[in-house]
């Protein structure tokens, strides 16, 4: 399903995904979207981050209690960190920019539908940046597992940022593609669940979040 307040864009994406992915509906506003999603129960929702009345994050919050199985893929013009981080923390499982091509978008939709996380190179860069100053973290850390990236996860993220596909990363690191996906999902979970001081401090430091 497509949720975006730009009618022209919705039509364009529909045309691009035609034949590759089954589009069951589209909506142009937050309330309309929530009702539509609850009614039609799609597997994946392509969600625009910036819409009036709360944007994509509001849609996720509205749908989550009633249809927890629906997965959201954020699709946006903006690649500003504040938009990316906020929609991921709201519950999106991936983020791609609108300049992505049709086949790649369909591929991303399929990956999200099967439970994986889709990270654009830029998002990987943000995450690395956020978790970068971690080595000297405060000793009294609530959940060390959540607040840091393992070396493997960091390596996988770096490769994503360098523009490698999961298959290629698997080849390079000598692990299976499934393992790569598991690492990426773990990173996503950390981003979403950790409401920790580090991530907030990082965002505040850069003035993205008040």
């Amino acid at each position: 399903m497509l949720v975006d307040d730009h009618g022209l864009f919705r039509a364009g994406v529909r045309a691009e995904l035609d034949g590759l992915v089954d589009v069951v509906g589209d909506a142009g506003a937050v309330d309309e979207a929530i009702d539509c999603i609850v009614e039609r129960d799609p597997d994946v929702v392509l969600l625009d981050v910036q819409m009036p009345e709360g944007g994509g994050a509001e849609v996720i919050r509205g749908v989550a209690p009633r249809r927890p199985a629906v997965r959201f893929l954020a699709l946006s013009v903006s690649d500003a960190p504040e938009d990316v981080i906020s929609i991921i923390r709201a519950g999106a499982r991936g983020y791609v920019t609108k300049t992505i091509s049709g086949p790649e978008l369909a591929d991303a939709v399929r990956r999200v539908a099967s439970g994986d996380a889709v990270f654009s190179p830029r998002l990987a860069g943000f995450v690395l940046d956020a978790f970068a100053g971690q080595e000297e973290a405060a000793p009294a850390v609530a959940d060390p597992e959540l607040d840091q990236l393992t070396a493997r996860e960091r390596e996988v993220l770096r490769h994503i940022a360098r523009g490698y596909l999961y298959k290629e990363i698997a080849l390079r690191l000598g692990i299976s593609a499934k393992t790569v996906e598991a690492h990426v999902s773990a990173v996503l979970r950390k981003l979403q669940l950790s409401n920790r001081h580090e991530l907030s401090r990082w965002a505040v430091q850069r003035g993205w979040v008040e």
Binding site: R122, R158, A161, R162, G163
Partner: protein, 412 residues
């Protein structure tokens, strides 16, 4: 440029830029056709002969609006803002001393006139000063209202204290006190206490009556100022959009037949607009590695019409070695553009503890490293050689059919 003759006389202003005390003489001199020094001497002489000069000067100071640049008068600049209260009291005491001196010398108009005048001038000056303070605050507030709040900018904003009610009340009290002193010294107060009471009551009543109107007036002024600021910002936005986005859109319509060019134009405009929108909200970045890489990538994108994706994590200052890294990156990207024309090019830069790594990757045809003849070692020399000269290292990973990746590492 044709010079238009100045038919309208310029409005009378204090010239703060060329001021010694308050800029009165410097402001009046051009209108009268005299040298400011002559006027200053004149005022000083008049001040000596009975205090009239000083009085006249003070009247001119409060009546003439400031103009002629943001520089402050010689005296104010020399003394500085912090000690304004100390300065004020110091000046006050000096004036008092001079007046008492004149009194002793007999150059005196009369007690009953001078003291009330002094008090009234002081009170009036305070009130007027505060009202002028309100005007100068607005530009500073506007700076703060702009996205980003102007925080971190090294520019000095002329800060005058907000019109504080206390100082205005003090000024009003001084003026009222001056009037009372005048009346008392002239013997008009003593006989009729009731009259004074009546006058006070009337004055209070008038104030209470007029207060709501006055408040509405000030509020209306504030709203108008806000409206003006909004209009200005809108005009700025319109001008920018007109200059950049409209031009690009028109150009895209003309070149609609060439999709690559249209895509390149669109990408460049998108980048420019993003940068302009983010200019206020992100913290300003001086010369840094990430900024230099962005600039280099943007240049190549524009010159060759090829999209290059840049992801940067971490940052460091731009020193000689970082510049070499940027140059090597640029060479690698240009190489990718040349030999992998239709492929996506991505640049990933990571800085950790000063150590910078850049990966330039393309999904082109790739090539066989060993099969490159020695006389076509362009990439090797420009990239590897450059990196090694500055104490870094570079590696090229490529295979036919698997694209190319150039790895550049520069130590801290």
């Amino acid at each position: 440029m044709v010079s238009v003759p100045d038919t309208q006389p310029a409005p009378l202003r204090r010239d703060r830029g060329n001021a010694v005390l308050g800029g009165v003489c410097a402001g009046l001199a051009p209108r009268l056709g005299l040298d400011p020094l002559v006027l200053r001497v004149g005022f000083a002489a008049a001040a000596c002969l009975g205090g009239l000069g000083g009085f006249l000067y003070a009247i001119c100071w409060v009546l003439l609006p400031p103009g002629g640049g943001d520089e402050r008068a010689l005296m104010a600049r020399a003394i500085g803002r912090r000690e304004s209260w100390m300065v004020a009291s110091g000046l006050g005491l000096l004036v008092l001393a001079v007046l008492l001196l004149f009194r002793a010398w007999g150059l005196w108009i009369g007690d009953a006139v001078v003291w009330p005048l002094v008090l009234a001038t002081g009170g009036g000056a305070l009130i007027w000063r505060q009202s002028q303070g309100a005007e100068v605050v607005a530009p500073a507030a506007r700076e703060a209202a702009r996205p980003g709040g102007g925080a971190g900018r090294p520019r000095r904003i002329l800060r005058l204290a907000r019109p504080s009610l206390g100082i205005v009340a003090l000024g009003a009290a001084l003026v009222v006190g001056a009037a009372l002193v005048f009346l008392w010294l002239n013997g008009a107060l003593v006989p009729d206490r009731d009259v004074t009471l009546a006058v006070l009551v009337v004055v209070t009543a008038l104030t209470l009556i007029l207060a709501p109107w006055w408040l509405r007036l000030t509020r209306g002024l504030t709203e108008e100022r806000a409206e003006r600021i909004r209009t200005q910002e809108r005009a700025e936005l319109a001008a920018h959009l007109h200059d950049s986005v409209l031009q690009t859109l028109a150009l895209m319509q003309k070149r609609a037949a060439d999709p690559r060019e249209v895509a390149a134009l669109a990408r460049r405009q998108e980048r420019e607009l993003r940068a302009w929108l983010n200019a206020g909200s992100r913290r300003e970045r001086g010369a840094s590695l990430a900024a230099a890489l962005e600039a280099a990538v943007a240049e190549i994108e524009d010159a060759h019409g090829v999209p290059v994706e840049l992801v940067a994590v971490g940052d460091r200052t731009l020193d000689e070695r970082a510049e070499a890294l940027v140059a090597a990156t640029r060479e690698a990207v240009l190489n990718a553009v040349k030999f992998a024309p239709m492929a996506a090019i991505s640049v990933y830069a990571e800085v950790q503890d000063g150590r910078a790594e850049v990966f330039v990757r393309d999904r082109g045809p790739g090539f066989d490293l060993d099969a490159v003849p020695p006389d076509r070692r362009g990439l090797r020399e420009s990239v590897l050689g450059r990196m090694e000269r500055y104490g870094g290292r570079a590696a090229i990973h490529t295979r036919p059919g698997e694209g190319t990746e150039v790895e550049l590492v520069m130590a801290a």
